[in-house]
Amino acid sequence: MKALTKKNLLILGAILLTFTVVQGLISVGIINKFYEITIAMICINIILAVSLNLVTGFTGQFSLGHAGFMSIGAYFGAVINLQMESTGGFLLGIFAGALAATLVGILIGIPTLRLKGDYLAIATLGMAEIIRVVFLNLDITNGAAGLSGIPRYTNWLWLCFFTVATVLLINNFIKSSYGRACISIREDEIAAESMGINTTKYKVMAFAIGAFFAGIAGALHSSYFYFIRPDIFGFLKSIDILIIVVLGGMGSITGSILAAILLAVLTTYLQAFTAVRMIIYALLLVVIMIFRPQGIMGTKEISDLFKSKKKDERIG
């Protein structure tokens, strides 16, 4: 197993430690229900932001419809979990939701990803709206009232598991030849095509993978917050996710993680100041974008900051 490098073992250790410490703090009640919500928000937002970053930051396809894929996961998860109230049902709901989102991603990606820039943004926005309207009008989703009483199976264990899995898998993808193909599209589409990259195929691939993980995030969301309505997954939710990606840095996974944590913590602390909350939040974004338009991390990862410049980067 070549994957068992010192670095990977170190990462694994850090993950296990984080999991155990947080689990411990939850058990003894130091992390109370209120902070638990923040943690859930952070994990779900990391999954959403990292998966959108693959599409927008790495492949260069500006999408304003990520919440649409999230809602597919959320409704599939909820409907299945309401029928099958068990961990099995919960997991089945997650995977069914993720697969359904992937399928929709492929179907919608093939026609829309031929568009560029603003046009693509508007097309993806429209797609998410259509998904929302479908859920608004179906019986099984209970229309505008939404679904409630969804059993809660999302806990720290599953949040941690799916967040880590998402980050690892997307990171592995990006650092593979397939990921480099996606990045080449962002860099120069004509050059990429001329170097043998089927750009449409890899755009759709990135879009589908992004949709898959957004679906997982949606299912985790519905099983944590008991109830869902179509308008939770509207345009504003897509913008929220995009803000995390832009703030963290388009093309930086660790940037998305940092930004997801930063914004969740900020939202939690600003809860006490309801009136000025949105103003402070918006001002902060404006200030960061003025002084650091490339986002917190730019296209760099945290590990790059510790790398001596001379040292050769290992395989990947």
């Binding site: 593979s176 080449s184 004509i190 050059a191 990429a192």
Partner: protein, 261 residues
Amino acid sequence: MPLLSVDKLTKSFGGLTAVSNVTMNIEKGELVGIIGPNGAGKTTLFNLFTGVYTPTSGSIKLDSDGEVKELGGLKPYNVTKAGLARTFQNIRLFKDLTVLDNVRIAMHQNIQYKLPSAFFRFNKFYNEEESLREEAIKLLDIFHLSHKKNELAKNLPYGEQRHLEIARALATKPAILLLDEPAAGMNPNETANLTETIEWIRQEFKLTILLIEHDMSLVMKICERIYVLDYGMMIASGKPAEIRANKKVIEAYLGEDVSNA
């Protein structure tokens, strides 16, 4: 049958016929030059060969091991798969990526490991990435670029960027290499170096090379045959000595000194 047979190829942009009724045959292993004044349609010809443009009429046939393939109208990545690789007149490197990544991206079309290996890093992934890397560095070595493999492409000096573009094109493992003004912007010294490199890679990779160039010293020195385009039309073809003496060519260049080059 020639390796590449171009028959009555035409490309119009609205009222402008950029390439008009061009017929040419390239034999395997040849090094052929394409010259002509500015706006003659040389780059357009390459864009037609490589699928960037769809021909208005005519055909481009590639003989790959006895199997004849029509290239006209194929997507660029399918043309590349069929065995044509190119460089661009206005360098189109992946500027914000490393020198190594520029080459590795061009190797993607031949990658063997599948998506699951990429996601889960099975041993296949590590093995192939390792050999990919070694192969890329070998290619960079030819152009004396391997020590700069981790630099961003945009930070290379101009001449090295041109070299990197050739290395990247070679990474697709082409049968035919199309070079669009590879010596543009180079000083005589760099051009001489480039000339040597082109001849060397031609031998080493058993390439057929098509070369657009304004630098007559380079063209006359290494090309076995030359085609001359003017206003989209083929006005002459032949050995360098014949082209030098051709009246039409001299006229097309309007006093530009072809004969003494």
